[in-house]
């Protein structure tokens, strides 16, 4: 009874404190939006700048035979190496000059005797010269060229085989050369048309695969997490040792003060994040089935409560405020990463995927996804309730041990 009285007293005090900080509060709540806005701004400006002026790549032909000309013409015309790339034929000097002016990110060098060596079965090296300031992009070009080279080298093996058997047939060399050259052209076209192997389908009919909905949900999950963290920290007050001792003499435990802060943070962020999710649902025109609002609220409540207890556990364990803050931010980053909202968890290594479902942030995010995007009507609350239970017992355990040590 006494302990409930203390908790409610501190809760009232914290609410007052929150009201007194009304000027910093909106700033704090806007902060995660600023972060997401910055990321979105950078990504959008990057892709639009790529679209407006695609990566320029030079093609330098030192061999000057009909075959290389054909390869280069095909490369120039086709967009098969990606929409963001634009290729033009240049002389070596031009390529170097443009490179110095930062107009090219890479050029591809077809060496002397390229065609002859190809026919004779000698090994040929196609060189990609990258701009040192655009390492990643030139590397990307190299990857594309590698994939093209794989196609050319398998066609080349075929041409050489044809050449070999033509020799066995003892055809005269003029006829043989003609056959081989004709086959070279044919295999080149064959390599260019490689995508005909595939009949490509995109599944778009359901709302679940819309990247917009997925990333909005991921962004709101991030925002909610930052809100909880920020408000919890805002309520933290440094107390001098004298005041701490005085509070303790009244019989107030550390746990009671923490619980009071958790209650205030929990209520305020639960309301805010529920409103945020409803806003997202309305903006994206998602269907919410009967009863799912309740499930969303429950999911959010469980997540916020467990997360707050985790923050409180760190607070109880670490004395130094700086290190405490660092650990709290690292754990928050870890929770966000494992939730699958930053990187979908299927791209993680398998040994990590096995353990991720144990983490409550993963449970929350995946069930939110099921309810909001896949229109499910069911949520398995048991794993989250278990996490909450573990967190509550840990915090009670740690604070009672601390209490005993200090007294």
């Amino acid at each position: 009874m006494q302990s409930l009285k203390f908790v409610s007293l501190f809760t009232k005090n914290n609410l007052l404190q929150l009201r007194r900080k009304w000027r910093t509060l909106p700033l704090l709540l806007l902060f995660p939006f600023v972060l997401i806005g910055l990321i979105a701004f950078l990504l959008v400006s990057y892709t639009t700048s790529l679209e407006e002026d695609p990566l320029q790549i030079g093609l330098v032909d030192l061999d000057q035979t009909t075959e290389t000309e054909m390869v280069i013409n095909l490369l120039e015309e086709s967009s098969q190496l990606g929409d963001f790339l634009h290729m033009t034929q240049l002389s070596k000097e031009e390529a170097k000059a443009k490179m110095e002016k930062d107009d090219l990110i890479a050029y591809i060098l077809f060496p002397d005797e390229f065609t002859n060596k190809l026919y004779d079965g000698e090994s040929v090296v196609v060189t990609v010269v990258g701009h040192p300031k655009h390492q990643l992009e030139s590397y990307f070009v190299k990857e594309l060229i590698d994939s093209a080279a794989r196609h050319i080298s398998s066609s080349q093996a075929n041409i050489l085989t044809i050449n070999y058997y033509a020799k066995q047939l003892e055809l005269e060399s003029k006829l043989r050369n003609q056959i081989v050259q004709q086959q070279f052209n044919e295999f080149l076209l064959y390599a260019i048309g490689k995508d005909n192997v595939l009949n490509q389908n995109i599944l778009t009919n359901n709302a679940t695969s819309s990247p917009k909905a997925y990333f909005s949900l991921a962004a709101s999950f991030f925002i909610i997490t930052v809100w909880v963290f920020a408000i919890y920290l805002l309520l933290f007050k440094e107390q001098s040792n004298e005041i701490q001792t005085r509070i303790r003499l009244y019989g107030v435990t550390e746990l009671q003060q923490m619980v009071a802060r958790i209650i205030v943070t929990f209520l305020s962020t639960l309301i805010l994040s529920f409103l945020l999710l409803i806003g997202i649902v309305n903006i994206l025109n998602l269907d919410i089935l009967q009863g799912n609002y309740g499930r969303i609220l429950l999911l959010l409540g469980l997540f916020i409560a467990t997360y707050l207890f985790v923050l409180a556990i760190i607070e109880a364990m670490i004395q130094s405020p700086k290190i405490r803050l660092l650990i709290q931010i690292i754990i928050t980053g870890f929770l966000l990463l494992s939730s699958g909202s930053l990187i979908p968890d299927m791209y993680l290594p398998i040994y990590i995927q096995e353990y991720v479902p144990v983490i409550f942030s993963y449970q929350t995010f995946s069930w939110l996804e099921e309810i909001l995007l896949n229109e499910r009507m069911y949520v398995d609350f048991i794993p989250m309730l278990l996490s909450l239970g573990v967190a509550i017992f840990t915090i009670i355990g740690i604070t009672s041990i601390k209490e005993r040590v200090t007294s």
Partner: protein, 377 residues
């Protein structure tokens, strides 16, 4: 100067563990972060589903070569299950090897042998597609050549002298024997001397710079602590003026940080194969001076340590994003423009000397000190 050093040393000695922790943290955490990130990156595979409708040797071979690729993790499923899992985003994409695959390949046909399914969220579809297409293409090209050779043999020799298997074997052998077409990758000679770095090397220093920013800000909390009433009273009784005291203390902190920067540099050179150059050393020193001065002037604006820590954290997060340390895409952040001008660590990340922000920080520090002096007068 000596007195100030001695008193500082007394303070540092008392807080040595905390000081050491924050001084070593940037290098240590960078190392740990990069090690973990590369390990995860190396072990990450793209989950794809493969549906085999054709029960044949060639289809089996294709499936085995897909499985051998380090890029993907293959699940063999029925079409319904695969599509369902794709819709639930448990697979990145699905590839269906159609019935009659072997027959078509042997007959030299290659169109629409395989169907692929993906969603708009299939982030890794195109490299996987390229790989599978090249595997199929290799097989179908080989049999196209074999057919041509048989025809040629009939045309010029009157009879069919070789079997398809024989020719295929030969073609495979040719491809294995002679490593035919290679690609090489070099950087153009311009600016080679100072920037001969590997693909992701700047991100080591990028992460280090972000963490240093945080640790420098956190360690500059002495400015706030020493402005509390219990300490300020004593300032009136010391020999030196307050400006002198602050300037000299700052100098001490800068040199302390620089010592640990050299240690981090050593760690990175030894364990992470970083290269260094004279110009980089200058960039590092100017960056460090700027960090200390900037942290000092920021700390001057706060009365409470707690809100200073909070602000430091927020500032670090924002700078981490706008300097591109969070999303490792080079060229993501435009080189020129307002964003990079506003970013104090941008110059360092580009390997340049931090000039603009050093000047700004010096001005800010002077403002902070002068204001202090006048209010106390």
């Amino acid at each position: 100067m000596k007195d100030i050093l001695l008193t500082r040393l007394l303070l540092w000695k008392k807080k040595r563990y905390s000081m050491l922790f924050w001084l070593i943290l940037p290098a240590a955490l960078t190392y740990i972060f990069i090690t973990i990130a590369t390990a995860i990156q190396d072990d990450s595979k793209i989950p794809i589903g493969v549906v085999i409708e054709d029960d044949s040797v060639l289809a089996d071979q294709l499936m085995k070569s897909i499985q051998d690729s380090p890029l993907v993790h293959v699940a063999i499923l029925s079409e319904d299950v695969a599509i369902n899992e794709l819709e639930k985003h448990e697979l990145d994409s699905v590839f269906v090897i159609h019935k009659g695959y072997e027959e078509a390949i042997l007959n030299g046909k290659r169109n629409d042998l395989i169907s692929s399914y993906r969603t708009e969220l299939s982030l890794a579809y195109s490299p996987v597609k390229e790989m599978i297409v090249s595997l199929v293409q290799e097989e179908s090209g080989r049999s196209k050549a074999a057919h041509f050779i048989q025809n040629m043999s009939v045309e010029y020799n009157g009879s069919n002298s070789w079997s398809l298997d024989e020719i295929n074997e030969k073609s495979r052998q040719v491809q294995v024997d002679e490593n035919l077409l290679n690609t090489a990758f070099t950087y153009s000679e311009i600016n080679m001397d100072s920037e001969e770095t590997s693909l992701f090397s700047w991100s080591t220093w990028g992460i280090w710079a972000i963490l240093s920013l945080l640790s420098t800000l956190f360690l500059t909390d002495w400015v706030i602590r020493e402005r509390q009433m219990s300490v300020t009273i004593r300032y009136s009784f010391i020999k030196v003026s307050r400006v002198e005291l602050y300037v000299k203390t700052l100098l001490l902190y800068v040199s302390l940080f620089l010592i640990f920067d050299l240690i981090s540099l050593g760690i990175f050179v030894l364990f992470m194969e970083e290269t260094i150059s004279i110009s980089f050393l200058f960039a590092l020193v100017s960056f460090r001076i700027m960090l200390c001065l900037l942290s000092y002037s920021i700390a001057h604006c706060f009365r409470k340590v707690g809100s200073f820590y909070g602000f430091s954290l927020m500032m670090t997060l924002v700078l981490a994003i706008i300097s591109g340390a969070v999303i490792p895409i080079q060229g993501l952040v435009p080189e020129q423009g307002i964003v990079s001008l506003l970013n104090p660590i941008h110059a360092f990340l580009n390997g340049e000397i931090t000039f603009l922000w050093s000047v700004i920080s010096i001005v800010l520090v002077i403002l902070a000190l002068v204001r202090k002096e006048t209010t106390n007068a």
